[in-house]
């Protein structure tokens, strides 16, 4: 019965939690996952950009980017598994309640279609396969870029779950931004007008959607204002804004400026994925983000909560 223990008891009395311990578990995912968010989105939107651009240098480079992005994605996901040799277990079933399951199938289909499309775009062979694969890859690239937002939202982590309306939008914007920037960097300026437009549109969408998400989260958005999540968010905002301005201002005239601006944008997009990823850990680690909103729901009469006292029983 030391005073320290008694004090802990008093804190618990105030509704904090059991010795201030987390109530939910933090994810066990490591840096491969935000890296995949970046590369998967890059690949998904690049396929769309490539398909809509038709033929020509921009399309070829965008197909190559899509292929490279997806080639990196699968190993990243497999490496993050606790038992990597069992990655094929992902294909045992299709489950709409599991964005990871849905995403696995999108990724599988996208990988196959992109391989066919890119093979034709880069070598000129297999024209019929290419023709069939191009629209499929472009179409599958869209949900590939946004399901990752749903994946994070379908957890009990408050900063992710309560952003369920916003996370897919943020990820879509990030995908557009990344695809635009990659194509801007890889294509000579006279062929890269569409890529530059995509970069600028994506930058505005990303900065705006992240801002809206954080505002709507209110107090739950605190993780974005402290710790690693905040550091990487500031970095992301700065890199994306500076890079997009550089691309807009001199990307048309100067190849080096286009490459520098696009690289900054790409780095910024990657930092944004990492910021969102870290925010989840910070959110899960502090019980106040779990208990607070739940108590507020009960207090507001929106939920009766999970417990019932004898007085609450209508008899």
């Amino acid at each position: 019965m030391s005073p320290a223990n008694a004090a802990a008891g008093t804190r618990a009395d105030a509704g904090a939690s059991y010795y201030g311990q987390p109530i939910i578990k933090s994810p066990v995912w490591t840096a491969e996952i935000p890296a995949y968010f970046f590369f998967g989105g890059l690949a998904g939107a690049s396929a769309g950009l490539a398909y809509l651009s038709g033929e020509g240098p921009l399309a070829r480079r965008a197909w190559a980017t899509a292929l490279a992005g997806i080639a990196v994605s699968a190993p990243l996901l497999i490496a993050d598994l606790g038992v990597p040799t069992r990655f094929l277990h992902m294909l045992r079933m299709v489950k709409v309640t599991s964005p990871m399951s849905v995403g696995t199938w999108i990724l599988t289909g996208f990988g196959a279609a992109t391989t066919g499309a890119a093979a034709h775009a880069l070598t000129g062979r297999l024209p019929r396969t290419g023709a069939a694969c191009r629209p499929a890859a472009a179409l599958l690239g869209l949900p590939l870029s946004t399901y990752t937002g749903a994946l994070l939202a379908q957890t009990s982590v408050p900063v992710w779950h309560e952003a369920r309306r916003h996370l897919p939008v943020v990820f879509a914007a990030g995908a557009a931004l990344s695809a635009g920037a990659a194509a801007t960097a890889l294509t000579s300026p006279e062929h890269a007008a569409a890529a530059r437009r995509l970069t600028m549109m994506g930058a505005v969408a990303e900065l705006a959607s992240v801002h809206v998400m954080e505002r709507r989260l209110g107090e739950l958005g605190e993780p974005y204002r402290g710790g690693q999540a905040a550091t990487f968010k500031r970095l992301a905002d700065g890199l994306v804004a500076a890079g997009a301005v550089t691309v807009a201002a001199s990307g048309r005239r100067s190849r080096p400026a286009a490459i520098a601006g696009a690289s900054a944008v790409l780095a910024g997009a990657a930092c944004e994925r990492y910021s969102i990823f870290r925010a989840g850990f910070q959110s899960a680690a502090d019980p106040k983000y779990v208990v607070g909103p739940q108590r507020a729901r009960i207090a507001a009469g929106k939920s009766r909560g999970a417990s019932r006292k004898a007085a609450d029983t209508s008899s």
Binding site: L49, T155, L198, I298, R304
Partner: protein, 292 residues
């Protein structure tokens, strides 16, 4: 959105589970030990935490039963003292047990926590491999030969029950002794519990018993006594492991209003679909917007 699929047909068994009456838990940890022994859960030596008698701290991959110890220092007024004294006397008379000491105004709460085996289980919903499944007893079990350690169930659980075992990469949790249930035995923890704080049985019976116990304790003056996860209309559709608590859930490290995230899945998928269409439109505008 909720999904309930019953596929066992004639093999379906009555819904079974735990009623954990924390008011008669004496903190002996026999449940933790019995669980470890029966299920061959690896040791995990965490050292001395200083958190009362609790050195396992929380449920996890290697802790499937966890006994919480909460020491509350209370300002005891004369009237409070009388009420609590009366409550204790009545309890002692009925059960032969004292659950907490009064004396210096210290209240000691003990509670054995476990996987809740939710009626609407987020872990099961998000599992992409089907390693997590619902048994014929309606409980939720991880198949260790299927789990590939993707880790999705870990942050999905609103109670923080599941975790990954670092050295083997898979996720582990309470099986409600699925193997014993198949042989008509009760789970190891319930069998080992010397005070029947952990009671195993058919859910309907347990709920009746819990109802009576709640009334009894409330009459005896335990005004914060409450049943936790005993009703089907809570955020997880009620649980197969439910509790009688003597204070608010968060005091025990339990969420006051847990929700199966699948309830909001329609919003989540709608948002993803809208964002995907928006991305398509954005790409089209970028490509064709300059060619007027």
């Amino acid at each position: 959105m909720t999904f309930t699929v019953r596929t066992y047909g004639p093999d379906q068994k009555p819904r079974q589970g735990f009623f954990t009456d924390t008011s008669i838990c004496i903190g002996c940890k026999a449940c933790e030990v019995a669980c470890k022994e029966w299920n061959q859960v690896p040791v995990q030596i965490g050292g001395f935490t200083g958190k009362s008698y609790d050195n396992t701290e929380a449920l996890g991959a290697n802790t499937w039963r966890h006994v919480a110890f909460i020491e509350q220092r209370k300002e005891m007024t004369f009237a409070d003292g009388l009420v609590e004294h009366a409550a204790l006397e009545q309890l002692a008379a009925q059960t032969g047990l004292q659950t907490y000491q009064e004396g210096d105004g210290l209240r000691w709460l003990m509670a054995s926590d476990v996987c809740k085996h939710c009626t609407h289980a987020a872990c099961l919903d998000v599992c992409p491999t089907g390693a997590l499944f619902r048994t014929e007893f309606d409980t939720v079990v991880v198949q260790d030969d299927i789990c590939n350690g993707c880790g999705y169930c870990v942050p999905a659980c609103p109670f923080g029950v599941l975790d990954q075992r670092k050295d083997d990469g898979r996720v582990w949790k309470c099986t409600l002794c699925y193997d014993r249930l198949k042989d008509d035995m009760q789970p190891a923890c319930a069998q080992a519990c010397p005070t029947d704080s952990i009671q195993f049985g058919e859910l309907d019976d347990l709920r009746d018993r819990a109802e009576q116990r709640l009334a009894q304790l409330t009459d005896a003056g335990a005004e914060k006594a409450q049943l936790y996860l005993a009703d089907e209309d809570d955020g997880v559709g009620g649980a197969h492991a439910f509790f009688l608590l003597l204070d608010e859930p968060e005091v025990y490290g339990l969420p006051p209003d847990p929700v199966d995230v699948t309830r909001n899945l329609r919003t989540t998928w709608s948002s993803a679909a809208v964002a995907a269409v928006g991305l398509g439109v954005g790409l089209a505008v970028a490509v064709f917007g300059g060619r007027r």
